[in-house]
């Protein structure tokens, strides 16, 4: 035991640069992943630097918890939170940060992020070790996916290792990028159970409350919600819905609510700040995830960690951690009772 502990102390400390277009103050799967991963690495003694583009006025160098240094490079986001794809003009700033922070490993996130691709390309040119994490599933047949897969093939041609969040995601990434499967590691996301604790007092069972928290876009199955909610409300009079989140499909949900007169049975909360997600979750019994494609649904984990029963569409990587959720769920229920 002591031998092993001594070995971990002597292990080399790395200086890691996380690079992605998606970071705080945005909230989402990728952003949370980068933040929590950085915190865990900082706890282990490594040094972590995050590079992302500026968000509004938030530009320059900021420090976050535990000394996490974030470079908000002063570029405007171009489309869908991505920086403008310049090929070589990003080299000076990336090179400056790499040399100034004496980085040893560069870790890029999310295939959709142009900043990530450019930073990985420049880092490899300068000879740094490069790791890439893919967070989403993409198709093969539409024009946008074909273009992105080609770019991914270029970037991943020379990467040291790649990480995917589920086995389905690994198959998808291997097919899209042509990487040898041995280079791809499957490391699923985790949830902070200290933050997502079940309620001390269970909500009463007289009325079943179903919670939905997601971005209201086509990809997350908002249209399924529009079809399902009226039928469920009609069949079970003691069921209530709480819908949190915002997006282009919110209008359709509001229309559905008006059309079937469900104002008292469907509550629309709008965008829920991340700090309040737990309080929304613990007010319900069931969590509903209706997304059409999901590499790894961290929302399900958060809900299960709060003690809710989870219902989800069987897509992407969701079937893989059903066992884990089920075991955890039973355990939490037992504990709560």
């Amino acid at each position: 035991m002591t031998g092993l502990a001594g070995k971990s102390m002597d292990r080399k400390k790395h200086r890691i640069m996380m690079v992605s277009d998606f970071f705080y103050p945005n909230f989402g799967g990728v952003e949370n992943h980068i933040y929590y991963l950085s915190q865990c690495l900082l706890k282990l003694g490594h040094k972590v630097v995050v590079v992302t583009h500026a968000y509004g006025n938030r530009s320059g160098v900021r420090y976050m918890t535990r000394g996490l240094k974030v470079y908000y490079v002063p570029w405007r986001p171009f489309v869908m939170q991505n920086s403008f794809p310049t090929l070589f003009p990003s080299l000076p700033i990336i090179r400056t940060i790499l040399i100034r922070e004496r980085i040893t490993i560069v870790h890029g996130h999310q295939a959709f992020s142009t900043l990530c691709h450019e930073a990985l390309m420049h880092s490899r040119t300068m000879g740094y070790r490069v790791v890439f994490t893919d967070h989403s599933l993409y198709g093969f047949s539409d024009a946008g996916s074909i273009h992105m897969n080609k770019v991914l093939q270029f970037t991943l041609a020379d990467v040291s290792q790649a990480i995917c969040v589920s086995h389905t995601s690994k198959e998808n990434t291997v097919l899209r990028s042509g990487l040898p499967p041995e280079k791809v590691f499957v490391i699923p996301n985790a949830v902070d159970t200290a933050m997502f604790k079940p309620a001390v007092v269970q909500p009463s069972r007289s009325e079943i409350v179903i919670v939905v928290i997601s971005r209201l876009v086509y990809r997350k199955g908002a249209d399924l919600l529009v079809e399902v909610i009226p039928d469920v409300c009609r069949l079970h009079p003691n069921v209530r819905f709480i819908v949190g989140g915002d997006g282009p499909k919110r209008v359709r949900l509001e229309e559905m609510r008006e059309k079937h007169s469900l104002q008292d049975r469907v509550e629309m909360l709008g965008a829920v700040p991340h700090a309040q997600v737990r309080s929304v979750l613990i007010s319900g019994h069931i969590f509903l995830n209706s997304s059409l494609t999901e590499a790894f649904c961290i929302a399900i984990l958060e809900a299960a960690s709060c003690g809710l029963l989870t219902v989800s569409t069987r897509v992407g990587g969701v079937p893989e951690f059903w066992n884990a959720v089920l075991q955890g769920l039973i355990w939490i229920h037992f504990f709560a009772i």
Partner: protein, 304 residues
């Protein structure tokens, strides 16, 4: 620690399961690739196996439309050279109208005689009257534009029309059906109408203008409907009609200009013979991938 290692000897390790949190599976690394890797992948599930003869027969409808447009351009050329006078043109118009009506009547479309008379006849009468009233406007529309620009613009508009035309005839239907035509088919129809207007504006008298506009619009707007009805009625009839149309067009173009004849002939051969062969040759490289990572498809239509 030591006794755990002994029980997990290589030949004794349990089967790998495709679950997340693989750290729960001792003896397997994070980058372990099982034999079941990619077993959910389905290749070329929706690919249609094509037969050379069928593709060639299908491409006949494309060359049929090319010949129709070539005939229209022929009529325009002869009218501009004053080879055809306006009375002759009017006769052509009327005969085209009548034959179109007869074809619509006799093919078993969902169009009954009464609907045909009331709906189509009424609309077409309004259309013709409207054209006649607006003919003076068309005549003076491009008086300030030189003829060279007109020929150039017309040629490019016709090329655009042919390029964007909806050859699958998905927008052609009987009256009463509601369908959203694609953007490209709207653009192609507009291009053909504008080309007709430009040509009509070069003609000397109002009757000329009216006759040529009526002719062009008849062919461009109702031509696809008529050919669709023929094709639906009987494929043999469609084939005979197309081949005779091609022969007639080629002979007329031969009488007009040798070079254009060669060009048209090579274009028809390219569309009918070379393109099907090419398509079938490159079909074997098609690689369609489907699997558990695909986005789920909604089984209902989204109605806004």
């Amino acid at each position: 620690m030591d006794h755990r290692l002994a029980s997990d000897s290589p030949q004794f390790r349990p089967r790998w399961r495709k679950v997340a949190y693989g750290g729960m599976q001792p003896g397997f690394d994070d980058n372990y690739t099982d034999e079941s890797f990619l077993e959910g992948m389905v290749m070329n599930a929706n690919v249609v196996k094509r037969d050379m003869l069928k593709v060639m027969l299908d491409s006949v409808s494309i060359s049929e439309y090319l010949c129709i447009v070539a005939l229209v351009v022929l009529v325009w050329t002869y009218t501009l050279e004053s080879t055809i006078d306006e009375n002759c043109l009017l006769c052509i118009d009327v005969s085209l109208l009548v034959s179109g009506f007869l074809i619509l009547l006799y093919t078993p479309e969902k169009v009954s005689l009464s609907i045909l008379i009331h709906h189509y006849f009424l609309n077409i009468s309004f259309f013709i009257i409207g054209l006649y009233v607006l003919a003076p406007i068309y005549q003076t529309l491009t008086r300030s534009i030189s003829s060279d620009s007109i020929w150039a613009v017309t040629a490019s508009l016709l090329v655009l029309h042919l390029f964007l035309h909806d050859y699958s005839e998905s927008t052609v239907n009987a009256p009463g059906a509601l369908k959203n035509p694609a953007l490209t088919s709207c653009i192609s129809v507009n291009a053909s109408v504008v080309a007709s207007v430009f040509i009509a504006s070069r003609l000397p008298s109002r009757l000329h203008v009216f006759a040529i506009m009526l002719f062009s619009l008849q062919v461009f707007l109702f031509g696809p409907l008529v050919t669709y009805c023929i094709k639906k009625y009987s494929f043999r009839l469609h084939l005979c009609f197309s081949i005779s149309l091609m022969v007639v067009t080629l002979s007329f173009v031969y009488m007009l200009h040798r070079l254009l004849f060669v060009l048209l002939l090579s274009l028809l051969v390219f569309v009918n013979v070379v393109c099907p062969y090419w398509l079938i040759r490159i079909q074997e490289y098609k690689f369609e991938i489907n699997g558990p990572w695909d986005e789920a498809k909604l089984c209902f239509a989204i109605t806004d």
